[in-house]
């Protein structure tokens, strides 16, 4: 990079500018006067590069306006271009507004701003790599042939072959050579065999790529946990997941309070209170008082499947709902597998003991009978399902006796205000599951396989 952005540090004409007084923009000269007029016009080439970089950021999803772009240019004029890290910091502070954006920004910056030598080296390396791949594609046609005739493969499979390590390619060649003598007898059979060996190698390559993706996910552990399937959590992930749940629920609670507050402003004027308060100021109504809105917290009844692998998911979901104090101030919990048990509200005060509680309850670890569980909730006396309650079912809907479950769910939907079903199975697989297909007709079923989906489903409780 050249130093063409650098502002002049020589004495400057500061006429018309009163240092420290109010005006827009900034001065590039160190007088702290915030005056536009002193800036030396920037050279076109670096400016154009900055504009292109900002365009690139926009493509990457950054919301950069003209003003930010202008400020970025001024910042570069202030700090110069000699120090790459200072340039990075300056642009990052002005163009990336969140921590996540800053991480993306750093990646974009490193990709975009490279030295000329590096750029040329990258181009040469890319050209060489492409030439090598092309050579390997040709090699494939030559080496993998039956009776001198190349085996036909799709173009994308040729790419996979070209990217395989040398050892793998040699192994394929060995197989072809080994069986080439026998191919004359049953060419179709051997061609099929070679194809299957090839496909296996292809799958192995894909798995290597997936491992790489997992490595990338580990680099940002929080994002990884938020978007990873809950069933794949290891024991070591659990404490961090609990912290994440706390953070997310704190944010959701904050948003709900803010929304209620702003809605509260639109409430009706409380005349009585306003006039009474006015007495203290001689009858002048200096302060208006508004009627408070009634609490809109919901009563939630949770029916949690704790059969086998569902326990971890149920624990997370209960933690979420219990922490959402702004959504519900009272929740009733039922645990079920084949049996049903109503939970003493004090027993789950400390959620760290949840799994012990479930294990000692005798409900854990059996099959699932959602019908019986729903009937038990319906039969509870005094009634727990009223038009003001939200029934939250946490289950994968793999239940025995689906007729009974469906019937009970229909009755529960009539009795409760809302029925939401949180299902840890990914939505893409729902169509293959009979239980899901039948039960989702009678309630809102939400995919909750990851913490992020769980958080979004819990936010739905507010709506």
């Amino acid at each position: 990079m050249t130093n063409s952005f650098e502002a002049s540090s020589s004495a400057h004409d500061c006429g018309g500018c009163d240092c420290g007084s109010a005006h827009d923009g900034a001065c590039a000269h160190g007088c702290g006067c915030g005056h536009h007029g002193h800036e030396r016009p920037a050279d076109a080439a670096p400016m154009e590069r900055l504009v292109r970089f900002v365009d690139y950021l926009r493509v990457q999803g950054f919301n950069v306006g003209i003003r930010e772009e202008e400020d970025a240019l001024r910042a570069l004029m202030l700090v110069g271009l000699e120090d790459r890290e200072v340039v990075r910091t300056a642009l990052r502070a002005l163009l990336a507004g969140t921590r996540r954006e800053q991480a993306t920004f750093d990646r974009c910056f490193d990709l975009f701003f490279v030295s000329r030598e590096q750029f040329e080296a990258n181009m040469a390396a890319a050209a060489q790599a492409e030439a090598e791949l092309e050579a390997r594609r040709r090699e494939m046609e030559e080496r993998l042939s039956v009776n001198g005739k190349p085996i036909e493969f799709r173009e994308d499979l040729k790419d996979v072959y070209a990217r395989m390590p040398q050892s793998e390619r040699d192994r394929l060649k060995e197989i072809v050579d080994k069986f080439s003598g026998k191919m004359e007898h049953a060419p179709k059979l051997y061609e099929g065999f070679i194809r299957s060996v090839f496909m296996r190698s292809l799958l192995e390559q894909q798995m290597i790529l997936e491992d790489a993706a997992e490595g990338a996910a580990q680099a940002d552990a929080d994002a990884d946990l938020m978007y990873r399937d809950i069933s794949s959590f290891r024991d070591a992930d659990i404490p961090r997941a609990h912290q994440l749940i706390d953070q997310v629920t704190r944010r959701i609670n904050g948003e709900i309070v803010a929304r209620r507050k702003s809605a509260g402003r639109a409430a009706a004027l409380d005349f009585r209170k306003t006039i009474r308060a006015g007495l203290s100021t001689g009858g002048a109504l200096c302060r208006l008082h508004y009627k408070k809105r009634h609490s809109r917290r919901k009563r939630i009844v949770m029916l949690c499947d704790v059969s086998g692998s569902m326990m971890q998911f149920s624990e997370f979901a209960i933690r979420f709902v219990k922490s959402l104090s702004e959504v519900s101030d009272h929740s009733e919990i039922f645990l079920f597998s084949e049996q049903v048990q109503r939970v003493n509200p004090f027993a789950l005060e400390n959620m760290d003991l949840f799994q012990n509680y479930v294990r000692s309850s005798g409900v854990w670890g059996r099959g699932t009978n959602a019908g019986r569980a729903l009937e038990a909730v319906l039969a509870a006396s005094p009634a727990v399902l009223t038009p003001g309650t939200v029934l939250l079912v946490l289950s994968d809907a793999k239940s025995v006796d689906l007729d009974r479950a469906e019937g009970a769910l229909v009755r529960a939907a009539k009795q409760a205000g809302t029925v939401l079903w949180m299902n840890p199975i990914p939505e893409a697989k729902w169509q293959y599951l009979n239980g899901v297909t039948r039960l989702r007709r009678h309630c809102d079923m939400l995919p909750c396989g990851t913490l992020d989906e769980l958080a979004r489903a819990c936010a739905r409780l507010v709506g």
């Binding site: 420290g20 007084s21 109010a22 005006h23 827009d24 923009g25 900034a26 001065c27 160190g30 702290g32 915030g34 919301n63 306006g65 003003r67 930010e68 400020d71 001024r74 910042a75 202030l78 700090v79 110069g80 000699e82 120090d83 890290e85 200072v86 910091t89 300056a90 990052r92 502070a93 002005l94 990336a96 507004g97 969140t98 921590r99 800053q102 070591a236 404490p239 961090r240 912290q243 704190r250 944010r251 904050g254 948003e255 309070v257 803010a258 929304r259 507050k261 702003s262 402003r265 100021t281 001689g282 002048a284 200096c286």
Partner: protein
Amino acid sequence: MRPELEALKQKLNEENYIADDALVATLYIAMRLNRPLLIEGAAGVGKTEVAKAASRAFGRELVRLQCYEGLDESKALYEWNYQKQLLAIQMGGQGESPAMKDLFGEEYLLPRPLLRSIRSEEPVVLLIDEIDKADAEFEAFLLELLSEMQVTIPEYGTVRARSLPFIVLTSNHTRPLSEALRRRCAYLYLEYPDVSKEIAILKAKVPGLDEDLAAQVARAVAYLRGSDRVTKKPSVAESLDWAAALMALGVDELDDESCGETLGFALKNNDDIREIMADDEFIRSLL
């Protein structure tokens, strides 16, 4: 590093604020472009301290507005002096009635921190602390001040800044801030200091602290912050308290026993203390 940045770093150092290069560059640019600076980071990483250090380093007065739920313009920006207005009306009843425009003049205006900061003759550092605790509508109300450096009072008119305050906003991210607010600010995310920076902070803030003890405390605090067993991570202020407590007890070296006696200065949760004292790796890391 450019001389201006070096000078700023030096000034902050003189004020006992150990700043890294990224912080110095961001602070410098925000200051020179008159851009408000939004600082985010975990609780206790020293976000508020940046504003305090900047005010001392630039020799400017610090005006602080602590945000909380329900904060509105009457507490943050201005309020009319109702008592004085009523008195004026009642006095007017005996003689000439004051004109309505006089009642909403500067004489009856009670300036709150925001108004005070922009009406000040000398530029100040305005710290809007924990903006995420305020309501979204207050955040929207701030936009005019942040972008135009002016505020509008309906009965009075627009008040332009006499001097440009350097505005620092801090947030713990208890709720997401609006895109509009972020766009108007330069952004800085503060991480917990690494061990070497923590040692420098301890030495600067706790005079007379032994170098080895400072290194041990810094390593121990770094371990606590990285441990999954600790729910409330120790802040920089807490590590300073811990070091001061050890010094007061005359401890030269951090060991199992002295740690057990004083860990309450770093960790503020009984479960955390119990968990950590049972963690062999932590005890080993001290040695």
